[in-house]
Subunit: 361 residues, 2 copies
């Protein structure tokens, strides 16, 4: 069997990580601020990075909490806002770990259809009018994981209206925002929120590197203060060394170059992926993403992707089944992550996928 | 008012942190293993560091989980083992955050008297014979926080016997073990456990630096596998950059030099502290610690340390009241952390403490 090609892992390949830039940032972290880098901080995170993030989003520093990765941020937020039996809205499909964590907390989960322009606000509205009263709606607005879709401006506006009217929190989970390689950026819901209804999360995993585990929350001061208490009790302070390195990476301008490298590579990978699919698997349906790591692929109704998964594994190809991102349905869908593979691997991977589909039909 | 001297914070002063060694380790981390350092890992931690820890403790790698600091390790362990209403043994006094987290989980806490040679195993035995059935006993065996006391060999043996007989887990919380500056080291309970009753935690906060936030658990494989699941669901992987830096720091031998520096400095600080107390505050009772960061001080019965605390603050001295480490009692006690202050600051701090005591008597 040939070496396995992974369309499964949502992580960057090493060639698009700025290792030299990170090494230089680490040296500067220890040289420029040895005390702040090596000592305990407080649960708000490394102060200069917190300030940098606040400026990036145009908010007060008290609205920002820097955490050990954005999943840890999610965990704190869910601990604070989601109690057993609470109703929660998620996109259908959505990130499998979010689904797992919300189920773990005993939430009553409502999956609302995700369309190529984002969550169906009509379906959400219908649910609200039926009497469902969610505490939280989890929304991945840009280049959604797993679908790669982006929420339109009109739907962002509508979500904010619904949140204000029905009193729920929008958890705007936005790790991919800076990895847009085509099309026009849209303003965050955070920046358009008039009624303190949005808590925003993002991360440096996609712009710096995942191993650095630095994420953050932005939200109303009172909420952030509550989450700060949880964070203090959990770990006193997040990783100051990592956050100081990220700060030096951002402040030096290395970030801009790193992001440009990532965008150029990912755009080429999407082009290679869609060209290979047209050629090898013309029956596949998808919407080419404008950014991020993922593309959702729908095979003809009746295709059993669970079988294709096994047949692909035999041929040295890994991907994630669509059913992993759903509570039910999606048996003919899969997620392709193109972030960790180069163009040649994409070509070869799609050939293996097509062969696996053929073998199962 | 003069600059405040802090006997409060259990953290090293910057002069005893090997910043240059850390900077060099960071450079090697990015050069020697760019992929492993920058990518997501798994929840077990950075593989070479996990192996280094396993060798240090003479255990299988499957018995080790490297976490984002040992407090996060505690949090996972408590999440797994402590349910509301469970009985838990802690030392009296004990680390305030442990107390807080166990209370937060709704545990039924039994504080058992801590003597200069460790927890009173007689008092624990009496409690067990009364019918108390703890799920967990939290023990800080070396240079305990807050008391600075060390558990004797005889009591280590007795605790292991009691744990086997009464079926509870010993949580051996041992962040200070490598910071022994006088006396003979004692074997860990982990190393003498014949019945898979010990889960051991330690940290690099005291040997590398606190801002690096790397800790770990060692225990029976099945337990570690359960905790690994919790860790995966919480954060996918801990900080690979930080763990790779720690690994390079350890593997290069920089660790040995760093630990020697810390020990020499702390031994001198304890000498300065006890000499100053003899001279300025002869009524204070204490046992000079053989390692670690902390010394417990008892003032004459009737002294109101809450008042002394305020009087000290007015004179530019901070410390932590003994009552913070207890559920009741200890009004005439305090904890002095000598890790973050140099000898001159210790001299001056003790003078301020004595003046504060005089002002309150």
């Amino acid at each position: 069997m040939p070496d396995t090609i992974s369309f499964a892992r949502g992580a960057p390949s090493l060639d698009i990580v700025d290792v030299d830039g990170l090494k230089a940032a680490a040296v500067r972290a220890f040289e420029n601020d040895p005390g702040g880098t090596t000592a305990y901080g407080t649960a708000v995170g490394y102060v200069p990075l917190r300030k940098w993030i606040a400026e990036k989003h145009g908010v007060d520093v008290d609205q920002v909490l820097v955490t050990n990765g954005s999943m840890q941020a999610d965990a704190f937020l869910f601990e604070l806002l989601v109690q057993p039996g609470d109703h929660v809205i998620v996109e259908k499909p959505t990130y499998d770990r979010t689904l797992l964590n919300l189920r773990g907390r005993g939430a009553e989960i409502h999956m609302v259809e995700l369309q190529p322009d984002g969550i169906s606000t009509d379906a959400l509205e219908a649910l609200l009018h039926e009497g469902v009263r969610p505490t939280l709606a989890h929304i991945i607005p840009n280049f959604q994981n797993p679908a790669g879709y982006t929420l339109s401006q009109a739907k962002r506006d509508r979500l904010l209206e619904l949140a204000a009217e029905f009193g729920f929190v929008i958890f705007e989970d936005d790790p991919y925002i800076d990895i847009r390689f085509t099309g026009e950026p849209l303003p965050t819901m955070l920046s358009q929120d008039q009624s303190d209804r949005v808590i925003y999360a993002s991360s440096f995993s996609k712009t710096v590197c995942p191993g650095i585990r630095v994420g953050y929350l932005v939200g109303p001061k009172a909420r952030i203060a509550e989450i700060q208490k949880l964070a203090t009790n959990t770990y006193i302070s997040p990783n100051m060394v990592a956050q100081s390195i990220v700060y030096e990476f951002c402040a030096s301008g290395a970030m801009a170059g790193a992001v440009a490298t990532v965008k150029t590579a990912l755009a080429a990978r999407v082009a290679a992926l869609t060209a290979a699919l047209e050629r090898e698997l013309p029956q596949a349906k998808y919407h080419a993403p404008e950014g991020g790591y993922f593309m959702w692929v729908e095979l003809p109704a009746g295709t059993d992707v669970a079988k294709v998964f096994d047949a692909a594994a035999e041929r040295g190809l890994a991907f994630v089944k669509g059913t992993d991102f759903l509570l039910e349905g999606g048996e003919n869908t899969l997620r392709i992550a193109y972030s960790g593979v180069n163009e040649a691997e994409i070509e070869e991977g799609v050939k293996r996928l097509a062969a696996a589909v053929t073998a199962c039909s």
